[in-house]
């Protein structure tokens, strides 16, 4: 034990990499990553619910445009979408003079828009699948009770669809966290951006990236734990009785 402590002590004393400055970069990166991922997931979730309902609609005019949107955003790499939104948009004539410019100027907004549109597309498809998988009997029963289609959707279909979608959605949240690692290509100082900064400054890939990998692991662990808790709570009625 003492040997271990001595070793740790020596390790920290002899390092020029994890100084106050670089640690503050990692701290700043953690804030940016969490903000970016959290906001895009929340907004994406809010967008995805009506989109998924529309996507399950029988009307082609509602269904197909939403399909086109999810197809495009699931069918192209997030990195390409980010490049298009960040670098591409400045080539739109007159954008620098428009009221939108202060928002687009900062890399945070374009990244948030790209991430939100991307996660909304995936979440829409997750929810659509869950809605589609609603047992027919449940809907028929609701109709037999005299519920209107809207009421049946609100009381029967959506609550059970959300429960079914939960495990898949938990995966999407983790994917989103990991996908956010590309934010540093548009100069955002996110966790990976901080790691790249330290890497480029000290030429120390192992130190820089292992440290950041550990932080991502902690974040993923928190997300896993949160979803396990939700599943336990919301899917309790599906568990076999003991």
């Amino acid at each position: 034990m003492q040997a271990l402590l001595d070793w740790l002590d020596g390790l920290l004393a002899n390092n020029s990499i994890f100084t106050l400055q670089t640690l503050s970069f990692y701290g700043e990166g953690l804030t940016t990553t969490v903000q970016l991922v959290f906001l895009s997931l929340i907004i994406g979730l809010i967008m995805a619910v009506p989109l998924a309902i529309g996507r399950s609609s029988r009307h082609g005019l509602i269904k197909w445009p939403i399909f086109a949107y999810t197809y495009v955003f699931r069918g192209t790499p997030l990195l390409v979408q980010l490049y298009l939104i960040y670098y591409g948009v400045v080539f739109v004539e007159g954008v620098q003079e428009s009221w939108l410019w202060p928002l687009i100027k900062d890399p945070f907004m374009p990244a948030l828009v790209a991430f939100t549109l991307n996660t909304a597309a995936y979440t829409t498809e997750i929810f659509r699948g869950a809605i589609k998988a609603t047992p027919k009997g449940e809907i028929e029963a609701a109709r037999a009770y005299g519920m209107s289609p809207t009421l049946a959707l609100r009381r029967i279909v959506l609550p059970s669809a959300f429960r079914r979608a939960l495990p898949a959605y938990g995966n999407e949240v983790i994917f989103m966290l990991h996908a956010s690692a590309i934010a540093s290509v548009v100069t955002l100082m996110d966790l990976t951006g901080a790691a790249r900064f330290v890497y480029a400054r000290f030429y120390a890939p192992f130190d820089a990236f292992l440290f950041v990998a550990a932080i991502y692991l902690c974040l993923t662990f928190a997300i896993l734990y949160f979803f396990r808790f939700l599943e336990k709570k919301l899917l309790a009625h599906l568990k076999p009785m003991t």
Partner: protein
């Protein structure tokens, strides 16, 4: 593809049979493009620039065959260590931090750094006060990045780019107020830009040495002392016979 495969197989075989992976009559040199006018591609894809021409001239002087390997800047030293190439010649400034990792040749060029901003800017000098709240662009991992981060990181918003291209794009898009670059690079990418007018703010900066080092040098693995010495001698010859000045005149205004 096939050629590439057989080439890599060959190099694998060479690496397996001898401890010295480098084939003596072929030297691979790592370079990050584009970084005008030091290294960039012509419209038809050929590598060119001051480093490329000087490097080829040195190789010709040494009577060896050189191959250029393109590698992104932030992985360029790890690439050397991983034996993807035997030397780096990519406008790399000699400094102590890098000296811990690599062996440098004699400096072959000393460029100043400078601040560049659109001509319409109200800035007249770059100080902590005048840069307060500005968006500054630098290339990630360069000495300019270190200098700006340490001097102005607390007051200004430092944006780091993987390539100089991306940075110029954001400069044109008015996302950046000012950038800090090697002067020759700023000269060819910004001052000679057709899209907007740019100017140099304040003086050329070459001090303190702690950041700006001793100029550009080629970098080698520490054990390759002989190779570095060969390049030093070739450089000496080229400086004496005028070839060096010819190449320099091709890429730089009198300054």
């Amino acid at each position: 593809m096939k050629k590439l495969l057989s080439l890599s197989l060959l190099s694998l075989a060479v690496a397996a049979t001898s401890a010295q992976a480098r084939d003596d009559d072929q030297i691979r040199i790592g370079v990050d493009v584009p970084y005008e006018p030091m290294e960039f591609r012509t419209p038809d894809g050929e590598l060119t620039g001051f480093d490329i021409d000087l490097g080829n001239a040195m190789c010709a002087e040494m009577k060896v065959e050189c191959e250029w390997v393109v590698q992104g800047w932030d992985g360029i030293i790890p690439g050397l260590m991983a034996r993807k190439y035997d030397a780096i010649m990519s406008s790399m400034t000699i400094n102590d931090k890098r000296r811990e990792q690599v062996l440098f040749s004699e400096p072959y060029f000393t460029p100043p750094s400078a601040w560049f901003a659109p001509s319409s800017t109200e800035l007249t000098e770059a100080t902590e006060g005048s840069l307060d709240g500005m968006s500054i662009g630098v290339q990630r991992g360069t000495l300019q990045d270190n200098y700006v981060t340490d001097m102005y990181g607390n007051v200004a918003d430092v944006n780091r780019y993987s390539t100089a291209d991306d940075m110029v794009l954001d400069m044109e898009a008015e996302r950046l107020d000012i950038v800090f670059l090697d002067y020759p690079v700023g000269q060819s990418t910004l001052l000679e830009s057709d899209n907007r007018d740019y100017k140099v703010i304040g003086d050329m900066i070459t001090e303190p040495k702690q950041y700006f080092g001793d100029g550009f040098g080629m970098a080698f693995r520490k054990r390759d002392k002989d190779l570095a010495e060969q390049f030093n001698q070739a450089l000496e010859t080229l400086r004496n016979n005028g070839t060096y000045d010819d190449i320099k005149a091709r890429y730089f205004d009198e300054s």
